[in-house]
């Protein structure tokens, strides 16, 4: 891991229209190059809001965000060339084939057609979907769609990848394929910011974790450090429950 912060968030505040409670309350954190950074928290804690602001999908109320040295407020278009986003929603065209979907999204990143074709074929093969490349997405299973959804966000080999629940609703085999692929991507230099409710997965996958609640950081460190910080906790989930309580969030 590098010592240089790839993402610098300072005093980030977000109020949604009509709400008097901040979704993000003075959030400050750094994500370093080469990290797999886990952003964890219960429902409504502010995880998706944070990622949406960093991707340029939402405007911040106040604060300062710098990604790879570029200020988000001023250089959002430049930042978009450096990032990849994989949301928890399957954002694919049902009536296009896997290949057509990937070709379209890759071309929007300005990828060279020949390079894009090669990259699509290699990626499909790696994720076990080469034979289904010319099948329309509507005929895919949930796990297959999830893999294509992932590929659509990473084909252009981003410097920084945002993952919002990338393995939700998939079987163990598919999860293993996805996580291995992401690990390789990280080893090849892509920094990952990951958000999930699957705490055991996060514990194994992330190199550094922040737990947020009510828009504020309540705990941070490596998974091991976080578990050790709580005396009666054996797992990250124990810490999570200890810190955020047992009350169900909506």
């Amino acid at each position: 891991m590098g010592n240089k912060p790839l993402i610098e968030i300072k005093n980030l505040v977000k109020y949604y229209k009509g709400s008097f409670e901040p979704a993000l309350n003075d959030l400050t954190l750094n994500v370093y190059e080469g990290e797999i950074f886990g952003l964890l928290g219960p429902n409504g804690a502010g995880k998706t809001t944070t990622i949406s602001i960093l991707c340029g999908l939402l405007l911040m109320t106040s604060g300062e965000v710098t990604i790879a040295g570029h200020k988000l407020k001023d250089e959002v278009r430049k930042i978009k060339t450096l990032i990849g986003v994989v949301s928890q929603d399957i954002a694919l065209y049902d009536n296009l084939t896997a290949y057509e979907n990937l070709k379209y999204f890759g071309s929007l990143y300005g990828m060279n057609s020949k390079h894009l074709d090669e990259k699509i074929n290699v990626s499909l093969e790696r994720l076990g979907l080469l034979k289904q490349g010319n099948t329309r997405i509507k005929k895919f299973s949930g796990g297959m769609k999830r893999r294509i959804n992932l590929l659509a966000g990473i084909l252009h080999e981003p410097l920084l990848l945002f993952l919002d629940e990338p393995t939700v609703g998939v079987d163990a085999q598919t999860r293993r394929i996805i996580l291995d692929y992401l690990k390789d991507l990280n080893n090849n230099g892509t920094t990952i910011m990951y958000s999930s409710h699957l705490l055991d997965e996060a514990e194994k996958f992330c190199s550094n974790i922040v737990i947020i609640d009510y828009g504020e950081i309540i705990c941070s460190g490596s998974p091991g450090e976080i578990v050790k910080s709580q005396k009666e906790a054996d797992t990250l989930e124990d810490v999570f429950i200890e810190l955020t309580g047992r009350k169900v969030r909506d």
Binding site: C55, G56, L57, L58, L59, R77, K78, K80, T81, I83, V85, S87, D89, I90, A91, L92, Y93, N95, L96, E100, K103, Y104, F105, S107, L108, Y109, G110, S113, R136, A152, G153
Partner: protein, 426 residues
């Protein structure tokens, strides 16, 4: 450039694969044009052509009756059923037939009507000349019966006025002719000669009528000439529904959010969509025009006359298609749900169509509605089509209407882009 080409390709593939949607997009406007044109054909005939059923009860059977019969028959406006004394049909029976709607109007010319005019003329002439000059001309007993006009209550006032005007015109002609003949007889009596002066059969002033167009023959906006361009525009503007639906679907399915994280401008995305839907509109227009040209004549309808300004036609079709697509893009961007977009889109298109003269031609509207109509993009489109189809105008004449439509497209697209930027929501 590659981004927009790929967007166009993607939109085209998605559209082609939605076979049901595609079929509806092309078939429905065709059915609409055929049905509406067939329905309105009769209305246009009433406005432009003949077929007012008139029963003429001619008990006079003299100059007035004969002249009026010839006049209404040759006017081309009426289909005349003649009843004479020999038919032994009473006036009350004829009135009943009109009341039942078999005839739209009836005219009763009683016996001796011509004689009444003759008597009047003789009286007038006598009063103007010395007694010893006036030759002996018989005056029959006055007939007190009046000429009667009776109408089916649904008959328009304008047609009633046409009949009254025509009748007055013939009576005036007969009176003039009789005055002329009477004075001729007086002159013959004074000069003791038979001058045989003949009253001219034609008027001194004749009308030369023409339609101010490049055509040799006049082309009136009949059901085909009006409905084909009007409903082509209506169908084109209904493209706003699939365009808006396409944008909303992308937003609902998270595709818009994904695209928003990619370094590509909304302008490229929206122009890619616009290109494909503009092509759809052009195809729709081509098919509807082909229906007007080749299919409607098979239903005993007039053939659509295209004119020779094909570049003008192309310009007005493309600019209308752009306006319609831009309108759809704006609705899709501003609406938050399918229901919003479909309700607003459908109703607004119907209103724009009504104002634009799709249903009722603008020239039949009140002045106030005509003023409002000037703001409907469909009105600009129809005017552009009229330039090509009815006036056979040049490209320059079509240009002002096309420019308005293009400006409308630019405004709609700009609103969509600015709104999306300001809103900054997915």
């Amino acid at each position: 450039m590659r981004k927009i080409v790929n967007t166009i390709h993607k939109e085209a593939v998605l559209l082609i694969r939605d076979k049901e949607g595609l079929a509806l997009m092309f078939l429905m406007p065709l059915i609409l044009v055929i049905v509406v044109t067939l329905l309105q054909h009769k209305i246009y005939q009433n406005v432009n052509e003949t077929h007012i059923q008139l029963v003429l009860i001619d008990y006079d059977q003299d100059s007035v009756g004969l002249a009026f019969r010839k006049g209404v028959q040759s006017s081309g406006i009426f289909e005349v059923t003649l009843i004479t004394r020999e038919d032994k049909i009473k006036l009350s029976d004829a009135k009943k037939l009109v009341a039942k709607g078999k005839y739209q109007m009836g005219i009763y010319i009683p016996e001796g009507t011509t004689q009444i005019i003759k008597n009047r003329v003789i009286s007038v002439v006598k009063s103007q000349l010395p007694l010893n000059v006036m030759p002996e001309i018989d005056i029959d007993n006055q007939n007190n019966e009046k000429v009667e006009l009776f109408f089916d209550p649904i008959t328009k006032a304008s047609f009633q006025n046409i009949v009254k005007g025509t009748l007055n015109e013939f009576i005036a002609k007969i009176e003039t002719r009789m005055v002329f003949i009477t004075y001729s007889k007086v002159i013959d009596a004074i000069t003791n000669q038979n001058t045989n002066i003949v009253y001219p059969a034609t008027s001194a002033i004749v009308f030369k009528e023409s339609y101010v167009s490049e055509y040799n023959r006049g082309i009136v906006p009949n059901a085909v000439q009006h409905n084909v361009p009007a409903w082509t525009l209506f169908a084109m503007f209904f493209i706003c529904m699939p365009v808006a639906g396409n944008i909303i679907r992308e937003r609902k399915e998270g595709l818009s959010a994904r695209i928003k994280t990619i370094p590509v401008s909304y302008f490229i995305i929206i122009m890619g969509k616009a290109f494909v839907f503009v092509m759809v509109c052009i195809l729709q227009a081509t098919m509807i025009i082909a229906v007007g040209k080749f299919l409607l004549p098979l239903f005993d309808m007039p053939e659509l006359i295209l004119g020779s300004n094909i570049s003008g036609l192309l310009l007005i079709v493309i600019s209308s298609a752009l306006a319609a697509t831009g309108y759809g893009a704006m609705i899709g961007t501003l609406s938050t749900s399918f229901i919003q977009a479909s309700s607003f889109g459908a109703v607004s298109v119907v209103i724009l169509a009504a104002l634009g003269g799709v249903w009722i031609p603008v020239y039949l509207m009140s002045q106030a509605m005509r003023n409002i109509s000037a703001f409907s993009p469909m009105s600009w489109g129809i005017k552009g089509f009229y330039e090509v189809f009815l006036r056979n105008s040049t490209l320059i004449d079509v240009l002002p209407h096309a420019v308005k439509l293009l400006a409308f497209f630019i405004i709609c697209i700009s609103i969509a882009i600015v709104y999306r930027k300001l809103k900054n929501t997915v």
